[in-house]
């Protein structure tokens, strides 16, 4: 029991050290937060979303207008979840 704890802890620490060491050389390559390489889409949405959709919340205008299909898929996922839960558990609910 105790050796097992020591082994798993050391494996965890080794894994963490490995991950940190493998991230460190990337810090010169990765761009800083908030400064992406391709920002054409962001700039278009930030400068045009209020005029295109009339909504102040640019996130809502992306979710419901520019990328409406994605929201349709999300709604379908929720619908499928509700349908599945009701389909499986209805017989227990009416006992």
């Amino acid at each position: 029991m105790k050796t097992r704890t020591i082994v798993s802890l050391s494996v965890l620490i080794l894994l963490g050290v490995f991950l940190i060491m493998s991230i460190l050389p990337l810090s010169n390559v990765l761009r800083p937060f908030g400064d992406p390489e391709n920002s054409d889409m962001d700039d278009y949405i930030i400068s045009n979303a209020q005029n295109d959709t009339g909504a102040n919340n640019a996130v809502t205008s992306v979710v419901f207008d520019y990328r409406g299909f994605d929201t349709l898929g999300e709604a379908t996922v929720l619908f499928t979840a509700v349908a599945g839960v009701i389909l499986i558990l209805r017989r227990y609910a009416h006992e």
Partner: protein, 157 residues
């Protein structure tokens, strides 16, 4: 069977209207402030889940049938899709109401940060209402039917 204490029942009954009003506010201002149909619907549904936990699933199931909730959810989904089909002359999900002066939700806000105008956004507020209805009914149906199905005979609900 329900054996939650009187404190839990009273506090839940007091909290429920405020939670519901806050969720409806998040849905209604979805095109102005952070939030929207999904988030506000989740808030309202968590208020309903509070009632289920406090008063027991049997007491709630006497008032609300999950078939009605299922119908309400389908109405929300159909409303969302039909709102998307309104602009089919241009593209799917085209915002026909936006920028049409005089129409419902037709105001265009000035560019930049501003306090926000409720009468703006075109089809987005209506879609938020439809998705909010759908999420409220769907999550409440899931919570209610799970609570009913997992109760034990003679035990705590």
């Amino acid at each position: 069977m329900n054996d939650t204490s009187k404190i839990i029942k009273t506090i839940s009954a007091i909290m429920f209207p405020f939670v519901t009003i806050y969720g409806l506010y998040v849905i209604m201002h979805g095109h102005l402030t952070p939030g929207g149909g999904f988030q506000g619907g989740a808030i309202v549904a968590s208020g309903c889940a509070l009632l289920v936990v406090a008063f027991g699933s049997e007491a709630i199931a006497k008032k609300v049938k999950e078939s009605d909730l299922s119908i309400l959810e389908s109405v929300g989904a159909l409303g969302f899709i039909s709102l998307a089909f309104i602009g089919i002359a241009t593209t799917f999900f085209y915002n026909v109401l936006a920028g049409r002066s005089g129409s419902l939700f037709g105001t265009i806000p000035p560019f930049g940060s501003n306090p926000g105008y409720l009468n703006s956004g075109g089809l987005l507020p209506l879609m938020n209402f439809a998705v909010g209805t759908k999420v409220i009914a769907g999550l409440f149906a899931i919570v209610l039917i799970l609570a009913i199905a997992t109760r034990k005979k003679g035990g705590r609900t």
